[in-house]
């Protein structure tokens, strides 16, 4: 290179930063497009908060999921007050509860007494192990302010969403169940991705006999009605199995049925990508097979995989709930949103203790959020179209 040329090269060395659009990578373009989707932009923080709270459910819940308040069965949600009867501001508090028996129906319920129980943040409560470890801690995010020396579980009680028939705090159980239900769908989707990507990838890349076998297998699995299939597989699990094992096996069962959609998407994408000019161009440049697959093909269908995966999460949450509700999935004492809903299987319990339906609200919110997020991702998935 001549000196003159070197000089001119040095001058133009300053890489242009004129417009960020021109130097924006795929993920940046996707993010810009995703940001325009308002529902998704609300759904994502909601989901993050839900996951965080459920992850640290012992801390955020005022009580422990299996802790029983024997004197307070089927309590309705407690009202939170700020002003006392005379109109003086006290701060958040609840009134104490007294048992009241209806003289005509003999139905037991609770009425508010005059006793003022103050609520507070970061209060002392039942002891728990931090993240299931042996490290004990007794501070809860919020709850009743216990007088010095009084043990939790007495008569200073507060139930945000009522209690169930055994006197357990429903709100605390929902948070604890969320930990299972929300993580379950991720574990199950992880299995789905492994099976779906492998089989779909093999089917699309190898073609021929493998392709035919995998595709016919998918047809077969798709034609089996879902719930009876789950029932059969769940019935095959021995009832003596530990809860952890059951949790993983259940998620595996869910993914054994759910992988078909993902495999189809993967195969179709691979088939069409294989013929794309830029993939042929990569081969013409002398790329190895591995480089073609991982450097050129994978990035361009990764976004579709992400979309497909987020789209299948709501189905998994609902599937787990359905199975547990029917008594086929996770079972008590494991707490999940599905097992919680088992308590309101009768019309009777629904009429008398409607607050046991609160888990459904959480299911709806999380499913909706995942749907919105999936929607936003789908819109953003291919920023080049």
């Amino acid at each position: 290179m001549s000196d003159k040329k070197k000089k001119s090269n040095a001058n133009i060395d300053t890489v242009d930063s004129s417009s960020s659009y021109e130097v924006a990578s795929q993920y940046k373009l996707m993010w810009w497009k995703f940001k325009k989707h308002k529902a998704a932009m609300i759904a994502v923080p909601v989901l993050i908060i839900m996951y965080l709270i459920c992850m640290c459910c012992e801390f955020f819940a005022p009580a422990l999921p299996l802790e029983r308040y024997k004197d307070y069965k089927d309590t309705a949600p407690t009202r939170i007050h700020l002003w006392d009867d005379d109109g003086n501001f006290v701060g958040p508090f609840v009134y104490g509860l007294e048992r009241y028996t209806d003289p005509y129906t003999f139905r037991k319920s609770y009425v508010e007494s005059d006793q003022i129980i103050k609520l507070g943040f970061f209060v002392r409560g039942s002891e728990y192990g931090v993240f299931g470890s042996n490290l004990k801690w007794d501070v809860h995010f919020f709850g009743v302010k216990l007088p010095e020396g009084e043990e939790p579980g007495g008569h200073n009680v507060f139930f945000l969403m009522g209690t169930d028939s055994l006197g357990r705090d429903v709100f605390s159980r929902i948070l604890s169940g969320g930990r299972i239900s929300l993580s379950f769908c991720l574990v199950s989707v992880a299995f789905t991705v492994i099976i779906g990507l492998t089989l779909g990838g093999l089917s699309g890349y190898l073609g021929g006999v493998v392709d035919t076998i995998v595709q016919r297998a998918i047809d077969l699995i798709m034609s089996i009605p879902g719930i009876p299939m789950w029932m059969a597989l769940a019935a095959a699990l021995p009832s003596t199995m530990s809860n952890l094992k059951k949790y993983f096996l259940m998620s595996l069962i869910m993914s054994l049925i759910g992988w078909t959609g993902l495999a189809r998407v993967t195969r179709g994408k691979l088939l069409s990508l294989r013929e794309e000019d830029f993939v042929i161009a990569a081969r013409m440049c002398g790329s190895s097979h591995m480089r073609v697959i991982f450097k050129h093909m994978l990035p361009s269908f990764l976004s579709y995989i992400i979309v497909s995966v987020t789209g299948s999460i709501p189905g998994t949450i609902l599937g787990e709930t359905t199975l547990s509700f029917l008594g086929l999935g996770l079972q008590a004492p494991t707490v999940s949103w599905g097992t919680l809903l088992q308590d309101c299987q009768t019309v009777d319990s629904m009429a008398a203790t409607p607050w046991l339906m609160f888990p459904a609200l959480f299911i709806i919110v999380s499913v909706l959020c995942f749907c919105f997020m999936g929607d936003g991702l789908r819109d953003a998935a291919d920023p080049y179209k």
Partner: protein, 343 residues
């Protein structure tokens, strides 16, 4: 042509590419689409051979078969490598083929599809360099900048993504990528068809300049006769997978020997209002490559067809030195060439 076989960089012998047609549950093969059928040709070092023909006649498939982007069904493709040894490409193992790709590259037709939208220009152009382990990252960067200047791109746009470029600029990126490893043979698959006319001229001149500088050989696939007459030394005419005529550009344009070539040339408009059109309208449709007519594939549309044309596939023969044709009646016909070329 005096330099026949002096130094062919590519020699194609009996090349065939049949795509199977499958049907039914078990994907039984019920027939073949004969995209490329029994083609013989060679390309000399430093020469531009143009391939012309209607859409769907197998030009692109032939180009891709030569570069082994598509595995040909049978036949042989000999490539004269750096050590001046002829190597067979069709049976070469993938890893060896990868090394050979340094010397042969491809420019694609569609500049929108041929660039990976997820890579920056720097990465796209340096891809062949990375694959062949040439140069370090810093050196590569400088070299890519130089290449961008060569093809007429602003080297400041190094970090941009393809979506920030126009069609013409993208095509230049594709050209820069193809030239990065300093190949000796380049297949230009309708390299200028997607560009508007002013840009076409620029790119064509660029390609010709580079040919002079780097002694490149081109296989120039096109359906634009004007472009072909401008750039090529020799022209091959294809009709549904068959090569029907191959000759020097001037010779072929002045005195074609195959009726199809005559019809093709007559379709090119001449910029002279006094000129009476003598366009030959071909009757019927292009033959279906899955069900070729018997004998000469062109006979149903040929106005000179005789009985023999319906029965026998014409032989590929060298009628005059360097002038190949596949027609039974070639020596008996007096066909019209393109105006301006006729003496």
């Amino acid at each position: 042509m005096e330099n026949k076989y002096t130094n062919p960089i590519i020699e194609v012998k009996n090349l065939k590419k049949y795509f199977p047609i499958t049907s039914g549950f078990f994907k039984k093969t019920v027939g073949y689409v004969k995209a490329v059928d029994n083609i013989d040709m060679y390309i000399n070092e430093g020469e531009t051979l143009a391939l012309v023909g209607e859409s769907g006649c197998g030009k692109t498939t032939l180009g891709r078969c030569i570069l082994q982007a598509i595995k040909p069904t049978s036949g042989s493709v000999l490539f004269n490598n750096k050590e001046n040894k002829q190597v067979e490409l069709t049976t070469m193992p993938y890893s060896q083929l990868r090394d050979t790709r340094r010397d042969m590259q491809m420019i694609f037709q569609d500049p929108y599809a041929s660039l990976d939208p997820r890579m920056t220009v720097l990465n796209i152009i340096s891809e062949p360099l990375i694959c062949h382990h040439l140069m370090g990252p810093a050196e590569r960067r400088e070299y890519v900048k130089e290449l961008m200047v060569t093809v007429g791109l602003n080297p400041r746009h190094l970090e941009r993504y393809p979506h920030a470029f126009s069609g013409g600029q993208r095509q230049r990126i594709g050209i820069a990528r193809a030239l990065a490893t300093k190949p000796r043979f380049v297949v230009c698959d309708e390299a200028v068809a997607a560009l508007d006319v002013s840009v076409q001229a620029q790119v064509l001149n660029l390609l010709m300049d580079l040919q002079e500088k780097m002694n490149l050989s081109y296989l120039f696939i096109s359906h634009d006769l004007g472009v072909v007459s401008h750039i090529s030394d020799r022209v091959g005419v294809m009709y549904v997978g068959h090569m029907v005529e191959l000759a020097d550009t001037v010779k072929l344009f002045a005195r074609p020997m195959h009726p199809y070539t005559e019809a093709l040339l007559s379709a090119k408009p001449v910029a002279d209002p006094r000129n009476k059109s003598r366009r030959i309208m071909l009757e019927g449709d292009v033959a279906n490559p899955a069900h070729l007519p018997s004998g000469c594939p062109f006979h149903p549309r040929c106005r000179y067809a005789k009985d023999i044309c319906k029965e026998q596939l014409p032989e590929w023969r060298e009628l005059e030195p360097g002038h190949y044709v596949a027609c039974h009646c070639a020596q008996d016909l007096q066909l019209h060439g393109m105006r301006g070329y006729e003496k």
